[in-house]
């Protein structure tokens, strides 16, 4: 099966297979570099959907194992969360902080 470079790999940021292959060709050879360069994995899914796909493409294009190209750092929150939920969960209020605090 031929590969279609217009296939979208990172759906949050609309990054295609072709763009990822070009970035690897340019020397960006880890998932983190692809993320910083193209924004792949910076969207709402935080790489949970696209990360392993990007890793497979990078690994294949560079001839390295996936484990070597994919030490992506996970950060909170685990899911998208509105500020109002954080305030409710922590018993916080939206009171105006006192000047000088």
């Amino acid at each position: 099966m031929t590969e279609d470079d217009s296939t979208i790999i990172c759906r949050c940021e609309d990054i295609t297979l072709g763009e990822i292959k070009q970035a690897v060709a340019r020397g960006y050879a880890t998932v983190d570099e692809i993320k910083h360069y193209l924004r792949a994995g910076m969207g709402p899914c935080q790489g949970r959907t696209c990360g392993h796909l990007v890793a497979q493409v990078v690994a294949r294009e560079t001839g390295r194992p996936v484990a070597e190209v994919w030490p992506m750092r996970a950060r909170p929150p685990y899911h998208l969360v509105p500020f109002s939920t954080i305030l409710a969960e922590t018993g916080g209020t939206v009171a105006f902080p006192k000047v000088g605090d």
Partner: protein, 380 residues
């Protein structure tokens, strides 16, 4: 390549290091090697808020900032890549009369240097940011020519231009030693090779003091964690960066649509860059107080990066007085990105001419020992 002699070796491929490389090539110095133990933008640059402001209280800072803004404005064309620089302004909030007095004084200085900042009333502030809660606000200052850029795009654009103009860029290569002799810097050794050079530029961000130590120098700077977060993209709600020194907060909606916001909290010096729950809690309280509409906006990610702090929160620039050929562009204390173009260009000038540009002369590495601190009243 190992064994080659370089005109200069730059340690660090963040915005400062790649920009110094680029500006060296503009001055005809092309045998330049840029080293990074990680990759382009993996440190403070790729984690910063990327605001660009000119509203400072010291003439030197105003001039460095204005020079940078003028350079940022032409940078996309010059480097051939869009860095998403937008002059969408900065709104600086004041909650008491003493602060307003200080800002009046600062404005006089800023205006005398051609920075078009102005004092606005709370009502005018709400015209600029319609969703701003102006409760308790006494006044604000606004400067339309301040703005922000995309830090990744700026860093990659500088890196690509530097390489195009002749620099070599080695990522995932760690500096292990800096050799010196009676004349000064002699060579840089890494985990992959050894490179002869008479000029080293320390642009190592949070790791600056360690790089100084490799050359036998004690640099007065240390890393300090600062936390920041990003929300999902949203329709455009307001243009300027909103900052409040009372809330220790800055918040900006970037070109992409996301809100990016940071909050200063007490931190111990160190390399810790973990994310803390206390930050997102404090941020939720602070930002929804100032900008209540954001209560419904969802947070995508919080992260942390390192400020490199000095005793006076001003950078260390220029050739080190104790080691010929060892240059520093470090210790920016949280405002390195915004003055990267000017400071990198002046660093390249210092190297090319073997002199210290007048504008950065007060920022030498030994000012702390002498007690010549450069104190800026307008820092977050």
């Amino acid at each position: 390549m190992p064994g080659k002699t370089y005109d200069a070796v730059i340690v660090g491929a963040g915005v400062i290091g790649t920009a110094v490389g680029y500006y060296l090539t503009k001055r005809g110095i092309r045998d330049v090697l840029i080293l990074d133990k990680g990759y382009v933008s993996c440190g403070a640059t790729g984690r910063c808020g990327a605001g660009v402001r000119q509203q400072w209280g010291l003439e030197m800072n105003c001039r460095l900032a204005k020079m940078s803004v003028d350079m940022f404005a032409g940078l996309s064309d010059e480097l051939g890549e869009d860095i998403e620089f937008e002059q969408s302004g900065y709104l600086v909030l004041a909650y008491d009369d003493d602060t307003v007095e200080l800002y009046r004084k600062n404005l006089k200085l800023q205006n005398s240097l051609g920075i078009p900042a102005r004092l606005v009333t709370p009502a005018e502030a709400r015209e600029i940011v319609p969703v701003l809660n102006i409760e308790g606000l006494v006044a604000a200052t606004h400067c339309q020519t301040d703005g922000h850029a995309n830090p990744f795009k700026t860093n990659f654009a500088y890196a690509h231009a530097a390489v195009r103009e002749g620099c070599e860029l080695h990522t995932f290569e760690t500096v292990t030693a800096i050799e010196t002799d009676v004349k000064g810097v002699r060579a840089v050794a890494t985990d992959k090779g050894r490179y002869e050079t008479r000029t080293v530029v320390n642009c190592a961000g949070g790791h600056a003091a360690e790089v100084g130590k490799l050359a036998g120098l004690k640099l007065d700077c240390f890393p300090e964690r600062h936390q920041i977060l990003v929300t999902e993209p949203y329709e455009r709600l307001f243009d300027p960066m909103v900052i409040s020194f009372v809330h220790h907060l800055y918040c900006q909606q970037v070109v992409h649509g996301a809100f990016i916001m940071g909050l200063g909290m007490p931190e111990a010096p160190g390399f810790n860059d973990d994310s803390g729950w206390e930050f997102i809690e404090a941020m939720a309280r602070a930002v929804t107080s100032l900008l209540p509409i954001l209560a419904g906006v969802r947070v995508i990610r919080q992260w942390a990066g390192l400020y490199t702090k000095t005793p006076d929160a001003q950078p260390i620039l220029g050739e080190h007085p104790d080691l010929p050929g060892f240059y520093n562009a470090v210790g920016f204390s949280g405002h390195g990105f915004m003055i990267a173009p000017a400071t990198a260009s002046l660093t390249a000038e210092a190297i090319a001419c073997g002199c210290t540009p007048e504008l950065i002369a007060p920022l030498d590495a030994k000012r702390f020992e002498r007690g010549d601190l450069v104190l800026e009243p307008n820092v977050v």
